[in-house]
């Protein structure tokens, strides 16, 4: 699985679904992961009301129903905020890609193709070109499907080490090798004199900090910045090495595949989501962009596990009641309630013993969860593969369109509106959704329409200096 090819290896872009890290990374394979926003877990554990541990049982049912209604309102109310939280990184990624394409000519120069797209597009007839591009797209898509299925199989049989190793090697390659090439090309474009020692130092620092931020812990903003940068690098590689028609075909087919893989009951990504949900596990890092800090869920459990899990990580869902983080140094199995908290509670509601049995009973209640989540802090997750394909679309539009900036802007607006609609659907359906289809469809429609219809019209108008 780690053979290196003569051409640049492809990377995957992570696809995301909320709690399931779904990344197939391999050095040689290009995987596109599906991205999904999965708020189902959050919905289950969300409880905007304060905790009701210790209160009389008859209030709990009413609170449960009230919670569900308020959940709906809060979802819609805070949905706009999440949309903006995703607009910014997607826009940044696209800006980086477009800026690079416009200034660095390396990424628009034809320097051969990858082994995943062996058929050339420099053919004599249009029919031959079409056939070649269809074959290229078919090969690429089958590679992606195989990789996805491989990842699902690995995940199902709990080969976590393999997946982790795969992910780490992938991000190593991206962070060191591709960024080295990128830096080299930027220097060439601006004719900056540079020595190898400085470059080595810069790349080393960049790469190591990136690895730490993405795979371990780091400031949220820094992690987000790194994820945006690696998505942009990956998108640039795609733009450079995929020929014209192949690229558009791949974009179209990938969004169809995304739709199928996420929504069909037998789809690999859906199976992945469900398996991870059953195991109640969190996502793998490095393939998902998350807009907020995530704290691991800690329910008041048996002591050893509580101690082990009561640590803050830099990814995933934020669900942590405040009192449970005071768990350090608590005695045997007080359920995570510290002494002061118990005293306070006794003063307020009267002495109620929190025994393991009572805690178990409370935990068994449906949505009356032990986690109180500040709704404002609930973030949305988007897979890195989505970032990459959006940027590929916009980058290709800016590289090859005759309408130039008009086409780029039209595709940009179309993709953002698609993302908006996807998030709206997410708020309504509350389950993992593919983020690619709507945006890519809008993007493709607008690209071809703007390039062929709007461009001549605007050109003529600008020529005569007419304004509409």
């Amino acid at each position: 699985m780690t053979e290196l090819s003569a051409h640049l290896p492809q990377f995957q872009h992570g696809q995301l679904t909320e709690n399931f890290p779904d990344n197939h990374l391999s050095n040689t394979n290009d995987n596109s992961e599906r991205r999904r926003h999965d708020t189902s877990d959050r919905r289950r554990n969300d409880n905007p009301e304060s905790e009701t541990n210790g209160q009389p049982q008859n209030n709990i049912q009413q609170v449960v129903e009230q919670d569900e209604e308020e959940d709906e309102e809060l979802t819609l109310k805070y949905g706009a905020k999440h949309v903006i939280m995703l607009f910014v990184p997607v826009t940044l990624c696209m800006v980086v890609v477009v800026a690079t394409i416009k200034s660095v000519s390396f990424y628009t120069r034809k320097d051969g193709q990858l082994i995943y797209t062996p058929f050339t597009e420099e053919t004599e007839t249009v029919g031959q070109r079409a056939l070649n591009s269809i074959l290229n797209a078919a090969i690429m898509i089958s590679v992606i499907i195989v990789m996805t299925i491989l990842l699902v199989v690995l995940y199902k049989y709990r080969c976590y080490k393999v997946i982790h190793g795969w992910l780490i090697i992938s991000s190593l390659l991206l962070l060191f090798f591709f960024s080295f090439i990128y830096l080299g090309e930027v220097f060439k474009t601006y004719n900056v004199a540079m020595d190898y020692i400085t470059v080595a130092l810069m790349i080393w620092n960049f790469g190591v900090v990136g690895m730490i931020c993405i795979h371990w812990k780091g400031p949220l903003r820094l992690q987000q910045a790194y994820l945006i940068m690696i998505s942009a690098l990956m998108a640039l590689v795609f733009i450079k090495y995929l020929p014209e028609w192949t690229a558009w075909l791949i974009l179209a087919v990938i969004s169809v595949y995304d739709l199928i893989a996420v929504l069909c009951p037998k789809g690999p990504l859906r199976m992945l989501v469900e398996t991870a949900q059953e195991r109640n596990e969190t996502l793998f890092p490095a393939l998902i962009y998350s807009s907020t800090m995530i704290w691991l869920v800690n329910m008041a459990e048996e002591d050893p596990e509580a101690q082990r899990k009561a640590s803050k990580t830099s990814t995933y869902d934020k669900q942590a009641p405040a009192n449970q983080t005071q768990n350090e140094g608590a005695e045997a199995d007080d359920g995570g309630f510290s002494q002061e908290w118990q005293q306070q509670r006794d003063n307020r509601i009267g002495p109620i013993e929190s025994t393991p049995e009572s805690r178990a009973a409370v935990q068994a209640l449906p949505s009356n969860s032990q986690t109180s989540e500040d709704p404002e802090e609930r973030g949305v997750k988007l897979g890195l593969g989505d970032f990459i394909f959006y940027s590929v679309l916009v980058g290709k539009a800016s590289a090859t369109a005759s309408g130039d900036w008009n086409t780029t802007l039209a595709c940009f607006v179309a993709i953002l509106i698609g993302l908006c609609l996807t998030l709206l659907l997410l708020a309504i359906f509350k389950k993992a959704l593919p983020a690619l289809p709507i945006s890519i469809t809008f993007g493709l429609v607008f690209y071809f329409a703007t390039d062929n219809l709007v461009q001549p019209f605007m050109d003529q108008l600008a020529f005569h200096q007419f304004y509409i």
Binding site: N406, V413, F446
Partner: protein, 227 residues
């Protein structure tokens, strides 16, 4: 912006079809087809502005029902302003960005006998257009809200007039000056429609703090019980 783009797409489609169905060589015909295309585009833009108004009305009702106090967090006037501004921005950007990109490169303006003031007049025209779209958005939404259809007609007519005036380019005194006069008048009209007045300006400029007439209750000791 999306709605404006869709309207532009449809208008270009119509223009494209008409051009392909006609005689390519006839310059006069192509010129008049261009004018026809521009007029269709203006009408479609206003139609899509109306469609956007309908959509926002629906969203406004939805927001009002799910909010805590029965009122939506954004007023219709704010939505009108944002809608007009975004129409203006996307329209301006589409008109001027290629010109801006070309203005970086080497070249001489007007070397073939066209006006040498092309860039600066484009800039001014684009600015006027962006402002006009913003004002039209405010007036349009208010007119739809209060069902004053003569206002609607006036907005559409002024848009057509502005677009028509640009056909007089490069006689800039005939096109730029009237367009700026129209911009000022429309701006004043939009200001009055949005509830502004001389009084408001004075109050704003004098930076006086308004007394808050609401009474606030503080209860720092206990969180009130909520059943």
């Amino acid at each position: 912006a999306f709605f404006w783009l869709v309207s532009l797409l449809l208008a270009s489609l119509i223009w494209f079809i008409s051009v392909h169905l006609s005689d390519r060589e006839d310059a006069k015909l192509q010129y008049s087809l261009l004018i026809f295309g521009a007029a269709v585009s203006v009408l479609l833009q206003e139609a899509f502005r109306f469609a956007y108004f309908k959509l926002l009305k629906k969203a406004d009702e939805g927001l009002a029902t799910i909010s805590e106090d029965g009122r939506s967090p954004i007023s219709l006037r704010q939505m009108a302003y944002v809608s007009g501004l975004s129409f203006g921005i996307i329209s301006g950007v589409f008109s001027v960005i290629n010109i801006l990109a070309d203005s970086i490169g080497p070249g001489i303006v007007g070397i073939h006998g066209d006006s040498p003031y092309y860039f600066i007049t484009s800039a001014f025209l684009t600015m006027a257009l962006v402002l006009l779209h913003t004002f039209w958005g405010v007036i349009f939404f208010d007119a739809c809200e209060r069902r004053r259809f003569w206002c609607l007609g006036l907005v559409v007519a002024s848009h057509l007039l502005t677009s028509g005036l640009t056909f007089l380019n490069p006689r800039y005194e005939a096109s730029l000056v009237p367009i700026f006069i129209i911009t000022l008048c429309t701006g004043l009209w939009a200001f009055i429609t949005a509830g502004g007045s001389f009084h408001n300006i004075l109050k704003c400029l004098s930076c006086k703090q308004e007394d808050d007439s609401r009474v606030m209750m503080y209860s720092a000791l206990q969180v009130p019980f909520e059943d």
